[in-house]
């Protein structure tokens, strides 16, 4: 958690986290292609600055909820690289002992309270966590990451109404990447900017460049400071781009080569590197940061791959609070 303005070291640390996420998901993609990743993982490649810029202001006591594209959010919130990767490849040492997988990362100790595969389903859960924080009165907050497509879900609007009505300490972070699956924003809604949905409720909202870490960090910092002071919910819309497909394996016929090339330009990592170089950081130091992150990630990946698989005989654990509870008793 960065209280005051970030130092140069803080920025370097955030660059490291950007690299961790980027390389971590690169490994997910590589192993998915190799058939080592069950299910259909969704990568946040290109959107990492949103996760890092927002989570830099959170502590382990703050709650975070995400959706199907949540690897980056989990890592930025402080989830262990190896335990997270182990979960994504279904190992017993995974965050959820292999029960959840890519779309359901939970790490209670780090305040990573949920990821849902049902678009929009995480929004009211996050509001509930914010309500609990309000009851505790400990200045902690709840943050929920969701995509632009989720604003098509009624529960988004229900949740915003309730959050404003109850003045809940919740930060709505929309990653507007212009697409929902294979369909562009224009075909999903005439409302181009998700922040526009806040106006009727008088909820403060802002649309920012989600690929510029400094912009995200500053905007999130202000919003979160207000939230901790009890000023009520805030909607932060981060305009971003996904460099990868909707899920690993998506042929992306709906995007032209040109679009994809143009998008590469906006890479948040390159962006931050240029900024740091302008501040006098050397190319070699930057390369070193990437190298370290790569080492960390590869070590985590290999550790996860070497980990044991869940014991099939444990498949009926964790359904209820007590074994006496099941479909039938006696």
């Amino acid at each position: 958690m960065t209280a005051s303005a970030p130092t140069l070291d803080d920025w370097k640390e955030m660059l490291r986290t950007l690299w961790r996420i980027r390389l971590f998901e690169g490994q997910v993609q590589r192993l998915a292609a190799a058939g080592e990743v069950p299910g259909f993982p969704h990568l946040s490649t290109g959107q990492e600055a949103v996760a890092v810029g927002v989570c830099a202001h959170l502590t382990r006591k703050d709650s975070l909820f995400t959706g199907h594209r949540g690897h980056g959010h989990a890592l930025a919130k402080g989830c262990d690289l190896q335990a997270t990767f182990a979960e994504i490849i279904g190992r017993d040492s995974g965050l959820c002992r292999g029960r959840g997988g890519s779309m359901h990362l939970v790490d209670a100790d780090n305040g990573m309270l949920g990821a849902t595969g049902v678009v929009g389903g995480n929004l009211p859960l996050a509001a509930g966590a914010a309500w609990a924080a309000q009851v505790r009165g400990d200045r902690t907050i709840s943050v929920v990451f969701f995509g632009d497509g989720a604003t098509g879900a009624g529960v988004f609007h229900e949740t915003v109404n309730l959050a404003v009505l109850w003045r809940l300490p919740i930060l709505f972070v929309c990653e507007n990447n212009g697409y929902a699956e294979f369909t562009s924003r224009e075909e999903h809604s005439k409302v181009n900017h998700v922040s526009a949905f806040a106006a009727p409720y008088g909820m403060p909202a802002k649309t920012i460049d989600g690929n510029d870490l400094r912009v995200v960090h500053a905007a999130a910092g202000n919003a979160i400071a207000g939230l901790r002071d009890g000023s009520g919910p805030f909607l932060l819309e981060c305009m971003t781009y996904r460099l990868a497909g909707h899920y690993v394996g998506d042929a992306q016929q709906y995007r032209s080569k040109e679009d994809l090339a143009a998008v590469q330009e906006k890479c948040p990592i390159e962006r931050l590197k240029r900024q740091l170089i302008a501040q006098g950081v050397s190319e070699s130091e930057l390369a070193g940061i990437a190298e370290e992150a790569k080492r960390e990630v590869l070590q985590a990946v290999e550790g996860a791959r070497a980990a044991a698989r869940p014991d099939p005989s444990t498949v009926l654990e964790y359904v209820y609070s007590a074994p006496s509870l099941s479909a039938t008793t006696g």
């Binding site: 002992r97 939970v106 859960l125 309730l162 479909a327 008793t329 006696g330």
Partner: protein, 324 residues
């Protein structure tokens, strides 16, 4: 001497006591701060504060999600959904989130939440305010389904539900709301998943829950007059289902009739009949018979509603058919 309380008054008392006992308990729902549509929470906001008894907008999906998220974070929310017909709006949260949270998180998080809702047909509430949908929920691993049959039963079962570490769907039948019963709070709270013998008998086992237990008892009374001794089991909880109590009874009577108001097809009775038919195959002297609602929505006109709904007469007829 024991005071007589209505089902509604006893629910209020149980909630009042739980709010007093545990600061984590919070109530929410449409109009609950002013008593709710049926007056169950009347006075509780004044007594326990507006922060703990909260009105919500007409947003069943969001308020169920908010209760779930709060439960994950240590509160014990008791949510009122006015009619079970509207739980259709909260199915994603109940089924995909609340029921699976403990499992998907590998045991890290739990959802100690009670969703109180009101169900059943009476007085021309018509097709969208009269359903009995409990059987959907016994098909969802992670949920608990409770359906009390009387005021006194509701008191203990609601308290046990509030104290449980799992999401509970607590179903209150509108026909029971005005029912009065002498009430002496004593003894331990009922365990979730334990049925009770509402009346002992030897010739046939009548299995029911919620308001239909009253019909089963009436039927037993009537059958007694013609020398048939019926044992009546009040299931209390549908998930978990107390098969040991059922099995012990049927092993004794060798005949079983299951009765519920819900539509017969795909109802809870099917699961019970399938169990009995399998576990007690060699014990049965007659086919397990189900009494339930014929396959149609609940009509508005009283004559039609009456014609469709199963009742005491259907249970008696089913037993007589078995015994003949």
């Amino acid at each position: 001497m024991a005071q007589k309380l209505t089902f509604i008054e006893i629910l209020r008392r149980a909630l009042d006591e739980e709010l007093t006992r545990d600061p984590a308990v919070h109530l929410l729902g449409e109009d609950v701060a002013v008593g709710g549509a049926f007056g169950v929470t009347k006075g509780l906001a004044q007594k326990h504060g507006a922060q703990r008894v909260r009105n919500t907008p007409i947003s069943e999906a969001a308020i169920t999600g908010v209760a779930t998220g709060a439960a994950i974070c240590g509160l014990r929310p008791v949510l009122e959904i006015m009619f079970i017909d509207f739980v259709t709006l909260a199915m994603d949260c109940l089924v995909n989130q609340a029921a699976k949270y403990r499992y998907m998180s590998g045991g890290q998080l739990a959802v100690p939440m009670v969703v109180r809702t009101q169900a059943g047909a009476a007085g021309g509430a018509a097709a969208q305010h009269s359903q009995s949908l409990e059987s959907w929920f016994i098909h969802v691993p992670g949920l608990v389904v409770v359906a009390p049959s009387s005021p006194v039963e509701a008191y203990g079962l609601l308290k046990s539900s509030v104290r449980l570490g799992d999401p509970v769907l607590f179903i209150e039948h509108k026909r029971l709301y005005a029912q009065r019963e002498a009430f002496v709070p004593d003894g331990p709270l009922p365990g979730i998943g334990t049925a009770r013998i509402a009346r002992a008998g030897t010739d046939v086992t009548l299995i029911a829950y919620s308001a239909m237990v009253g019909n089963a008892l009436e039927a037993a009374e009537e059958l007694a007059r013609s020398g048939i001794s019926a044992e009546v089991i009040d299931l209390r909880t549908l998930l978990p289902l107390d098969m040991s109590t059922i099995a012990a009874s049927v092993a004794k009577t060798h005949r079983a009739v299951i009765a519920h108001e819900a539509v017969l097809n795909g109802g809870v009775g099917a699961e019970i009949a399938a169990h009995i038919g399998h576990e007690l195959f060699d014990e049965l002297d007659a086919p397990v018979t189900r009494v339930g609602c014929p396959f149609a929505p609940i009509p508005f006109a009283p004559e039609l509603e009456r014609a469709l709904l199963p009742g005491t007469a259907n249970i008696v007829a089913a037993v007589r058919e078995l015994s003949s």
